[in-house]
Symmetry: C2
């Protein structure tokens, strides 16, 4: 028999099993470090698994944060400087990346505590992770306060993208697997990937009387 | 030399390379089918790679949709019935899942055209995918219109979760890799995963004068 949990079952679970279940169940997540600094130049770095694609023209990405917990320094810095960076997490740095989730006070930069190297390109006050192979520079656009549970969707515009020049297929798709990008399950699982296929753009099959024609 | 693209470079790219680049660059994405029906029972199924964790207590998930393109039937049905399902995409069904992106008119159910089997549990008018190994029943809570690019964040509450009983570790984390869940890159890449580690909850290292103590 499969497990069948209802809303009420979930609400009365212990905190740790519930966090593990709900953070994991909806599938694999993007693995990124978000780099920020305040206008005085004090840097911050935090692991995020909630970066999501919003649109391609203009190029927009979103991410979710919970202002009342650890990543609040990220939020404060973005509000202060208006810029931030999104850097991929690879197998070479995932342990350091995960340690950014430890609760240091804001005087401390995770670049130091996690032994990752800040690197600057065009954006003022937005440190990239030198060890990352894919680096995306973002400008803050707007935010939405999600009333249901007091989280925030931050919407940003891509200002620059930096990645190795041997990664791009003829049709413009960068090979993020070859770049070493990991994917995250739940709060603590790091996974490599293996591509099984790229599928073609799909067009409707021929229908006869609203049924798929036999071929 | 790495590729270095600016916002202006991206804006003047051809449409297909830009779609491939921006949909891919921010990392791996969740691979799900969202099942819906209107109150008359006409079903719809669509592939989504934008499901994102919002919170665990109460359990909330979000996803992004673009009301002016294909998944509008999904949106109409959710507004109509208030319920929807999130079903994982495995290696057994990824080709059928991908075909849900073909533009059929709303008289046609992708369950038929993609040869996937609707299955019902507690939710009225919300078909699950029988072939999926992880099934999440959702109730619509609220939505946010993202002004920047006219997309919508749909916020839903988890009403039930159904998955195989041999998947859960002692700490409550379901093994979505063992469940066969794939991850998506860009618009068309399907990948299996291989876990390299589960890392412990991180606590700050001991600091001396705001530097990490040598051990």
């Amino acid at each position: 028999m499969p497990v069948h949990l209802t809303f009420n079952d979930i609400m009365v679970m212990g905190k740790i099993p519930r966090l593990n279940l709900i953070n994991t169940i909806a599938g694999f997540k993007s693995a990124n470090l978000i780099g920020t600094a305040n206008v005085a130049g004090r840097t911050n770095l935090a692991v995020f698994s909630s970066v999501v694609h919003l649109g391609s023209k203009p190029p927009y990405l979103g991410f979710i944060l919970r202002p009342t917990t650890v990543p609040r320094h990220t939020y404060q810095n973005i509000k202060d400087s208006k810029y931030y960076t999104i850097n991929n997490i690879t197998a070479n740095i995932y342990e350091q990346a995960h340690h950014t989730s430890a609760k240091y006070n804001e005087q401390i930069s995770e670049f130091d505590t996690c032994k990752l190297t800040p690197e600057y390109h065009q954006l003022p006050h937005a440190p990239y992770v030198a060890e990352s192979t894919i680096k995306i520079g973002m400008e803050y656009v707007e935010e939405y306060h999600i009333k249901a549970n007091d989280t925030i969707l931050v919407v940003g515009k891509i200002i620059e993208i930096i990645y190795p020049d041997n990664l791009t297929a003829k049709d413009g798709k960068p090979d993020i697997e070859a770049a070493g990008t990991l994917t995250i399950s739940g709060l603590d699982g790091y996974h490599t990937t293996q591509q099984i296929a790229r599928l073609a753009y799909q067009r409707p099959k021929k229908l006869v009387n609203n049924k798929i024609a036999k071929t």
